[in-house]
Symmetry: C2
Subunit: 273 residues, 2 copies
């Protein structure tokens, strides 16, 4: 195949928020790392009229540019037809799969737009909102009151990624997550720090590499002992020993995204909801 790589305009089109179209579209585009793409998301395409306006814009581009790509999660047949008639490559992310599901489930799809990222299941939605509050309240050991009410307690030396991982788990999965920082003084003993000692079965540890940790700490406090490679090495070695001694599962955050860590943590704690 050709080795020329052009810049394609990419549109994520949806009758809802566009999140599903973006997620799957971007997943597909990562398979083409050498091509370049200019992305735009067009949410709430709910009328044939608006769809026509969007298609006119896309078609005006396709005259002077390589074929634009459209990733669509539009549900309405009428609106989908407007896009299909455009000059772009239109990838309908739901159509074929919906048909196959209808056959297997012996049910007709509702074809109602934008249900994926609405409030949907209100109970689940409220649980997520509650979990975000809980996470903020218990960030960085700020409040120890309700550690035992949490589903998971993330423990780690400072700057290993506890806070963003906590937020992600709360926001996306509605899990009650507290986090607890391990500090220099915690490594004097072979015991877990007192507040988390009775809760070891809820604990999950994070690590990093000394290099990465030192870099991140340097951004916060340049030239400090706190950011020195030696100090980072000391804390990480002792934290890992602590995790192993107490059978606390752990993951290294240096090479993993928060999404990957969340996935590992939930899988390991069998808490995926």
């Amino acid at each position: 195949m050709s080795t020329e790589h052009e810049t394609h305009s990419v549109f994520f089109v949806s009758d809802g928020t566009g999140i599903t179209a973006e997620t799957l579209g971007n997943t597909l585009l990562t398979q083409f790392p050498n091509d370049s793409f200019i992305r735009a998301t067009i949410p709430f395409v709910n009328t044939v009229e608006y769809a026509r306006t969007v298609v006119r814009h896309i078609d005006s581009l396709s005259k002077s540019q390589p074929t634009p790509l459209v990733f669509s999660t539009v549900v309405s047949d009428e609106i989908r037809e407007v896009f299909t008639a455009s000059g772009a490559l239109v990838i309908d992310l739901l159509g074929e799969a919906t048909k196959r599901l209808e056959q297997t489930l012996h049910t007709e799809a509702s074809h109602s737009p934008g249900r994926a990222h609405g409030q949907g299941d209100l109970e689940r939605y409220n649980a997520r909102m509650h979990a975000v509050e809980f996470a903020i309240e218990h960030d960085d050991g700020q409040s120890l009151r309700a550690l035992d009410r949490s589903d998971i307690i993330l423990i780690a030396p400072s700057r290993c990624g506890k806070t963003p991982t906590t937020m992600y788990l709360a926001l996306q999965h509605g899990v009650l997550v507290a986090n607890y920082p391990l500090i220099h003084e915690d490594f004097g003993s072979i015991e877990l720090p007192a507040p988390i000692a009775p809760l070891a079965d809820k604990c999950f540890g994070l690590l990093s590499t000394p290099q990465r940790l030192s870099e991140v700490r340097t951004q916060r406090r340049p030239d400090s002992r706190y950011a020195s490679l030696d100090q980072c090495r000391y804390e990480l070695r002792n934290a890992e020993e602590m995790y192993r001694r107490h059978g606390i599962p752990f993951v290294n955050s240096a090479s993993k995204s928060i999404e990957e860590m969340a996935s590992v943590i939930l899988h390991s704690m069998s808490l995926r909801k």
Copy 2:
């Protein structure tokens, strides 16, 4: 079609985190609101051996249950074949679309697994992590220092959803969001509160309905003036007037999810990245 609805086991299978499979799979399932599903996510299916173990489990279910559903984003052809040979309905979310992209882009797909939710673009990833810290630091007007460094300032009466919306925008879009609570005393004047007055063009307002707001506040402080319908009505009416007077765009959080609000906010502020 039949009106009998059975409970189907659903598996989101991936060689990465499973987030894309979950997102698109769940979007498809919302089109079948009358059916019920028991969901499980199986991430990191990276070897043919592990895939065979998973398929054995799925096939053992299909003997006593209605056809299980498998939503797969596995990229490797070898592993995909293992699933295709199972007794489940396997919906391969990437296969067909990848082929069509290869044709249009005149490039072969890399077929490398799990790139969608890795750290990917490190700069973008670090921006998201930084945005989460920024959001926590500026939650609920806690720190006014850097309001002018923020991309967006969410303003609203207490309990309209500022905090979770802020976290979502930070975590998913790497946008620097501060939020600022409007309190009773702010409504005595026709001016914006002093700290945000010079930053009106960054402000975005949230509203709710008096009923919904009163409900949410009652959970926090039952039988208080703060939670009373009258007080909620007063604050919401005045907040809306303030938004209109100063040309601040706003959205009502009572019927919208944080994903939908984020989408509206970014679209309105043209900050979608």
